[in-house]
């Protein structure tokens, strides 16, 4: 009797690689940022002088990039979804998240508070999250199209 809600051995192996890639992406991003601070500034909290982001935004963007690397690798290696997972539901959920975040970012743009004191804050996180989810959705759809062509 098979358990439908699990990843098979190949998927687990590939997901391991994906986690490794995501981890090293985050590590390299942090190292680069640290390197920049070490070279340019003595005071590491003056992040706004170096990049137009608040520290929280900067940190969140780093995580988003690592998650995007992980998701993209998983999608292209057929290990993003577990066996028999409801892909349509998840795709719809991602699309809804993307649209909501993009709408919030647009609302901030319209109200003119997208930037605070010359740096990007929370509204920018909404934009980045929306774009990330949109990218992941496109990857899933693209992979599905490729898969239909490759069917036996």
């Amino acid at each position: 009797m098979m358990n439908w809600n699990h990843f098979d051995e190949r998927q687990l192996q590939k997901r391991g690689n994906a986690f490794k890639l995501g981890f090293f992406t985050l590590l390299i991003e942090n190292a680069l940022l640290l390197f920049l601070f070490a070279i340019l500034y003595d005071d590491p909290v003056r992040i706004g002088d170096l990049l137009p982001f608040t520290p929280a935004t900067c940190l969140t963007l780093q995580i988003f990039l690592a998650v995007t690397v992980f998701a993209t690798y998983c999608i292209w290696n057929d290990c993003y979804f577990s066996l028999n997972e409801n892909r349509r539901y998840l795709l719809a959920l991602f699309a809804a998240c993307s649209i909501l975040n993009l709408l919030m970012a647009i609302a901030h743009l319209i109200h003119g508070d997208f930037m605070e004191d010359g740096v990007f804050g929370t509204p920018f996180i909404n934009l980045a999250c929306g774009l990330m989810m949109l990218f992941i959705c496109s990857m899933i759809l693209l992979k599905r199209l490729r898969q239909k062509e490759d069917e036996e």
Partner: protein, 64 residues
């Protein structure tokens, strides 16, 4: 290296990749990867495939 023995054994039983995948509890892409030689299955999966196809490990996975 492609595993043509597996592919022909599956075809002989008129099983699709999806049907074999469901019978052994993996994804269709995993069966496809094994047949294409892109993935080396564990002995556990090899045995499961052999059982479903009614073949021995030698018949399906031993390279001459």
């Amino acid at each position: 290296m492609k595993n043509l023995k597996l592919k022909s054994a599956r075809a002989a039983l008129d099983l699709s990749q999806q049907a074999l995948a469901e019978a052994v509890g993996v994804s269709r892409q995993t069966i496809n990867a094994i047949e294409k030689g892109d993935y080396n299955p564990t002995i556990r999966l090899c045995i499961a495939i052999c059982r479903v196809l009614g073949k021995t490990l030698d018949e399906l996975f031993w390279e001459e």
